[in-house]
Amino acid sequence: MREFLAIATALILATGSLLTAAPSHAQSKGEIVIGVQCDRTGPTQIVGTVLCPAFHDYIALVNSKGGVEGFKIKGLEIDHEYKVPPAVESYERHKKDGAVTMAVYGTPQIYALAAKLTEDRIPGTSPGFGSAAAADGVRYPYIFPIAATYWSQGAAAVDFVKKQLGGSLKGKKIAYIFYDNPAGREPIEVIEDLAVREGFQLKTFAVPPPGVEMGAQVLDIAQRFRADFVIAHLFGGAPSVSIKEFKRVGYPLRKVVSFVWGAAEANIDGAGGFGVAEGYYAMQFAGVGTDYPVLNEIREMYRKQGKEPPKEMASTVFYNRGVLIAALHVEAIRNALKAKPDGKITGVDTKAGFEKISNFTLGGLVPPLKISPTDHEGGGLVQIWQVKDGKFVKVTDWFAAYQDVVAKHIKESGAKK
C-alpha cells in the first residue's frame, strides 16, 4: 500500500510539473505578462468575483484578435484575500514571471507595494482606491491611480450637488456620511475646502466598521441636521444599509450621491432592488450598462467558441471596471511595444506607455483620460448615473471639477514629505 501511494504521488507530481512547464513552449512571437492581483474570497469579494473575470475576458479578446503588435498578453492572476503578506508574495511571483505591469488590488496592498514598485521600476495601478496623493507622477513615478481618486470624487460630488441645488451652495447644508477608515476620511479635507469656498455648511457623519449600523447617523442627517443633500462614501455592505436606512426615515434618495464603491448593481440589490433605490445617484469611473462595442465583441467571442457570455457581465458596473483596468494596461503595453517593437520591454517602458495614454475611450466605456508624467490620475473624470425605472440611467457625461483645489492638496501632501 505504501509503495503504491509513493508511486502514485510521484506520478502525480511528475505530470503536474510537466503540465506547468508545457505552456511556455507553445507561444510564437512571445508573451507580455501582466501581474493581476485579485480578491475573490476576502472582504471585497463582491467586487473581485466580477472584476477579475472581466479582466481576463478583455485579455482573451485582445489575444483572439491577434494580440498586441503581434505579442500575446498573459494575465497572471493571484488571489490575495485582501491580505497584505499574500499580496507581497504574489507581487514577487509576478516579478519573477516577468510581469511588466501590475494590477494591484486593494488600498493596504498598494501602500505595502509602493516602495517595491518604485525600486523595481514596475508600474502598478490603483484604480478607485489607494492614496489620492499618488496622482502626483513626480513623487510616485510608478504608481498609477488611472481613475478618479477620492479627492477628485469629492470635488466632483460637490460640483454635482451644486448643479442639483440650482447652481449655488450658499447657505445650503450638505451631509458627508463616510466609512470610518483612512479611505473614508481622505476626501474630507477637499470637501471642507470647498465648503469654505462655496459657502455651504458641511457636517460629517462617521460610520464605524463594519458599517452595518448607521440608523442614528441617517436619522440625524434626515431629521436633525436636515441636509439639503447627502454625499455618501461607504464600502462593502454599508452602501446597501445606507439606502435602506434613508428609505426607512423617509429621506428622498434623489438627494443622495454615492462615491464609486457604493455605486454597483450589487449595492442596489443588497438594499432590496432597484425599486427601493429609485432616485439614488451613483458616481462611476467606468461606463455602466451593456451597450458598448467592446462588450459586444466579448459576447461575440464567447458565441464563436459556442459558449454563453459569462453571467458576470450582468453586473455591469464591476465588469466594466474590470474591462477598463485591463484595457488601460493593454494600452500601456501597446504604447511600450510601439516604441520598442522587438518586444523586450520592461516596467520603465510600460511606465512611459501609461503616460502616453490619451483619449482612449473604448466607445465610451473609458473616460477620455489624459495621463502624463506629472498626472497619473488622468484628469479625475467621473460620470453620475441615477437609479431609474429598474436600471442605471446616465445623468451627466464625463466631468471633473475643482481640479485646482485637488491639485493644491496633492501639492501640499508632497510638500509635507
Binding site: P53, E81, V84, P85, V88, E89, R93, Y111, A112, P182
Partner: protein
Amino acid sequence: MEPSRKRSCERVPRGRATPHPTGPPRARRVDKSVIQRECGVLKTTYEADMGLYPLPIARWTVAAVAVLFFAVIPLTLHEYYLSVANLVWIAVIGALGLNILVGYTGQVSIGHGAFMSVGAYTAANLANRLGSPWPVNLLAGGLMAALIGAIVGIPSLRIKGLYLAIATLAGQLIIEWTINHVTFISGGVQASIEVARPRLGSMVLDSQRDMYYFLLFFVVLAIVGTMNLMRSRVGRAFIAIRDHDIAAEIIGINIFRYKLLAFAISSFYAGMTGVLYTYFLGIANYEQFQIGVSIDYLAMIIIGGLGSVLGSIFGAIFVTLLPIVIRYTMEAFGGVFFAPQTVLNLIPNLRLMMFGALIIFFLIVEPEGLNRLWRNIRSYFRVWPFAY
C-alpha cells in the same frame, strides 16, 4: 514509548558501563570524537539537563541548519523564494512573541496585531520626525509596544481565559481606533507613514536578499532569546503561572509582576515584528495590523504547538507557506479537470477550503501541534530500527 528510550544503545565511553549509582553527580564524560545518537535520558547533572545542546550531534545539526539558512538558501534561490522566506521570518518573530504569552504563560491575547502596530508607528514616527537610525527605532518600537502591552495586560490580573481574550480584543480595537484617529500618531488621515529603507553603513538594504539577512539576524536573536528566557527563572515562573496560578503564587511567584512581564515581553516581540514589517514594506499602514492579523498569529501557534519554540517556527511556516503550496499544486493540476477561466475562480476558493481542512487534519492527527508531530517522528527514528 518511554521505557524503550531509557535503554542505553549509545556508544559507551571507555571504562564506565553505566553511570555510577551512588557516586556524586558528575558530568558524564562523552567521547566527542564520535557522532552519537541519544537513546535515553542519561543526564546526571542539572547543567547537562539545562544544556542548549542536549547531545554533541545537536551542535552539528545547528551548524548544518545555520549553513543552510545563512549560505545555501540565500545564495542559490531566486529572490521570489527569499521574499516568501522573509514573510516567514516576520511571522516567526511574531509567533514566538505570542507563544511566550499564550503558550508559556497561559494568557490568551487577541491583541497581537495591535501591539505590532504600536511598534510600527513608533518607529515610523521616530524615523520621520527625528531621523533616528533603525536600531534605535527598532528598540524604541519594541519598548513602546512592551509598555502598551503591559497596560493592556492589566486585566489579566483579575480575569482569565475567554474573559481575558475579550479584554485584549478591546485593547486591539482601542489601539486601532487611536492610531486611526489621532493624526499625531498616524501622520495624517491616510494613517500611513512612509519609511526609508534601513542602512548598514553606506549600504541600503532594499533587495529581498538584503532583507533576508536583515530579518534572519533578528529571527536568530528571537529564537535564542526565547530559548534562554524559558530556561531562566523568569521563564519557569511563566510556566508555573500557566500550569497553576494559585500554586505558583503559593510557592512565592509574584503573579502581578510576572503576568505583566509576560505581556511586556510578548509585546516587545510584537513591536519588533511591527518595526521589521515596516522596514520590509517601506511603510507603516494601520490596515496591515488589523484584527485578522491577531487571529492569524493565534492560528500559527495553535497549529505549531503551544509552549514551544520550534512549534512557533513550524506554525509560522505552515500558515505562510501552505496557501502558496496549495496554489502551486492547483495551478499544476487544475488545468487537467477544468477550463482556465474556471480554474482561476476555483483556485482561491478551493485553497481556502483546503487550508481549513488541512488545519483540521493536522490538529486531529496531533492536537498538540506540529511540534509534537515532529517530536513523535524524531523519537521513532531515534531508536529505529530497534523499536523495542
